[in-house]
Amino acid sequence: MTVSINEISASPGFGHDLPPHKLRDMLRYMLLARALDERMWVLNRAGKAPFVISCQGHEAAQVGAAFALSRGKDFILPYYRGLAMVLVMGMTPTEVMLGLFARATDPSSGGRQMPAHYGCRRLKIVTQSSPVGTQIPHAVGIGLAEKIKGGDAIAWVSFGEGTTSQGDFHEALNLTAVHRLPVIFQCENNEYAISVHQRQQMAVASVADRGIAYGIPGISVDGTDVLAVYEVTRRAVERARRGDGPTLIEARVVRMTAHSSDDNDRTYRPPHEIALVRHQDPIVRFVAQLREHGILSEADEQAMRAEVAAIVDQATEEAERAPMPEPETLYDHVYAPPRSRRHELRGGTN
């Protein structure tokens, strides 16, 4: 059931069904995510942002997937490296920076959570926590609800390869398979869980192999190839909407930074590997592809980079100016009030 990337690459011409402006849009989101992420590290080094955890190296895996999903309709449960995903889904750079600075108007948590714990009900980005893997059962429950209601939204959930060691991963995939629920599981395999290499994490070469245990198709794809990820996700989306059930996608990515700003990966990662990672940059790769196919001129690229830099500047400034949460708000939202939007019974005789 494991489908290799070669098979995917053998599909229709470059860009699949995507017109050139969409392809450029993809690149734009990748550049935006990267620029925001890099800025966060700068702010961290400058003592302005206490914590950063990166998307760098994962952008293609997320943008590729995002372009195959239906924004505002499908539910997204992206783990803490999901910056590029939430940008495509509609979170603004300013909103992202409000989270970094823990401002009152941070849409994810109002400054309550660490940065990169995304959530926004309006955008169907489901609130994320820190304990890894807990979001996977939530995605399954969203799919179950959809099946009960007869809807056709999909739940897309992401997590690292280390997280597949958690029991919740197993329980969730198993349940999804039993009911053929519309869920897409994207494992972003960057070979490390903080300092623990995949070899210490599992005895299989590919997370996609884990699908077989549940009767779920497992597909391993080069996650630095945005179009390959787009294509496998598009097929998974089709499958899910048809009612044929879930897909497990392993996107092989690179972690281009330390685990987080609290980590120092030179204590466990060989220097040559750290050097190598730079050569697997998904953005460099996509730029080259677009250039080669005449979809992106040098001038286009420069303009795009300039635009993105300006956006990041503006987002940073806006977010820095925003107010901190008031201390008294500590006590807000412990419980949802009765008679909230979910309260009234619907239908029936009561």
Binding site: F75, D106, P107, S108, S109, G110, R112, Q113, H117, G119, C120, R121, V126, T127, S129, P131, T134, I136, P137, H138, A139, V140, G141, I142, G143, L144, A145, E146, K147, I148, K149, A153, A155, G167, D168, E171, A172, N174, L175, V178, D332, H333, V334, Y335, A336, P337, P338, S340, R342, H343, L345, R346, G347, G348, T349, N350
Partner: protein
């Protein structure tokens, strides 16, 4: 008003809510054809079908986790944990997820989820089918914890729990399922989550309890009445949020306190009740704040001799009441 046992009252509550709102569904082990190992959901599978009364895989974490997801996708799920003793695998999903989602999203997301949990002993269930788990969860902000002890309260609280936009742990004492009978109105009603209930008014001492022990306390109070001691018995009913006002008001009147639960004493829920009283009604106290709880051993053993030694009894409760009255 028909008389029924506590189990039937819960079943009726489930049935009426499922009829009233198509978003309500039940998810748990053996809840379908089998109607649950205690028969609480009996008949509902036939009535509402396999997509609303769903047999889950044997995996408590995803039972709760999937219900959280469904709740965030506009459903009103009811998770059943087969025995309270088996809720531990779902601890992460309940405590770190269900309880914190509303808060962590700054009020953006809600988890209207009911987790039904048969608990408690005295039913020869041994170490792993007799446990009380309320202390673990009543400590967690963001959760509500409900412990009905009569059929009327059980049905009324269940409906409130299903309508509540927050995660509610609904604890059903297994021994009360068929033992405790009572009248339940035909018409629709609610018992609100929060308020305690004075099950027996009295003047000389205040006794706080819930679940099976509430009934033992009532029995003991009856005994004491014959001895000329007037015992007020208050059913806490909801442990979180706790009805501190009713508790303190009673203590201010009687000046003497006994707290009774089946769960082991040390670190149990009674400590919180005692602490609130010792801080906020200190000036009214005419005697030590007494507690009775299960012994501090890991769980309730199987052998009759040991199970009997574990369970607080109406007699041991009456004895404590007497000591307190005499203080």
């Amino acid at each position: 008003m028909p008389e029924m046992n506590l189990l039937e009252a819960i079943r009726q509550g489930l049935d009426e809510m499922m009829a009233a709102d198509s978003r309500v569904f039940i998810f748990g082990e053996d809840v379908g054809k089998r109607g649950g190992v205690f028969r609480v959901t009996e008949g509902l599978y036939d009535k509402y079908g396999p997509m609303r009364v769903i047999d889950s895989p044997l995996a408590e974490s995803v039972i709760v986790g999937a219900c959280i997801g469904a709740a965030m996708n506009d459903m009103l799920p009811i998770a059943e944990i087969q025995f309270a003793d088996f809720i531990a695998p779902a601890f992460n999903q309940i405590v770190q997820e269900a309880a914190r989602i509303h808060y962590r999203s700054n009020g953006d997301w809600e988890v209207p989820l009911v987790i039904r949990v048969p608990y408690g002993g005295g039913i020869h269930g041994a170490l792993y089918h007799s446990q009380s788990v309320e202390a673990f969860f009543a400590h967690v902000p963001g959760l509500k914890v409900v412990t009905p002890s009569t059929p009327y309260d059980a049905k009324g609280l269940l409906k409130s729990a299903i309508e509540d936009p927050n995660p509610v742990l609904f604890l059903e004492h297994k021994k009360t399922y068929r033992l405790i009978k009572g009248f339940v109105p035909e018409e629709d009603y609610r018992v609100p989550i929060g308020p305690a209930d004075i099950k027996r008014p009295g003047e000389d001492l205040s006794v706080f309890s819930y679940g099976l022990m509430l009934h033992y306390c009532l029995e003991a109070a009856q005994t004491l009445a014959a001895e000329g001691v007037s015992v007020e018995v208050i059913d806490l009913r909801t442990l979180r949020p706790l009805d501190t006002e009713t508790i303190l008001a009673s203590v201010r009147r009687t000046g003497k306190v006994l707290i009774v639960h089946e769960d082991n004493l040390f670190g149990g829920f009674g400590g919180e009740v005692a602490a609130l009283i010792a801080e906020h009604a200190f000036e009214y106290l005419d005697g030590p704040v007494m507690r009775i709880g299960g012994p501090d051993v890991p769980a309730m053993p199987f052998a009759h001799s040991l199970e009997a030694a574990f369970m607080p009894s109406p007699a041991s409760i009456a004895a404590a009441m007497r000591r307190l009255a005499a203080y």
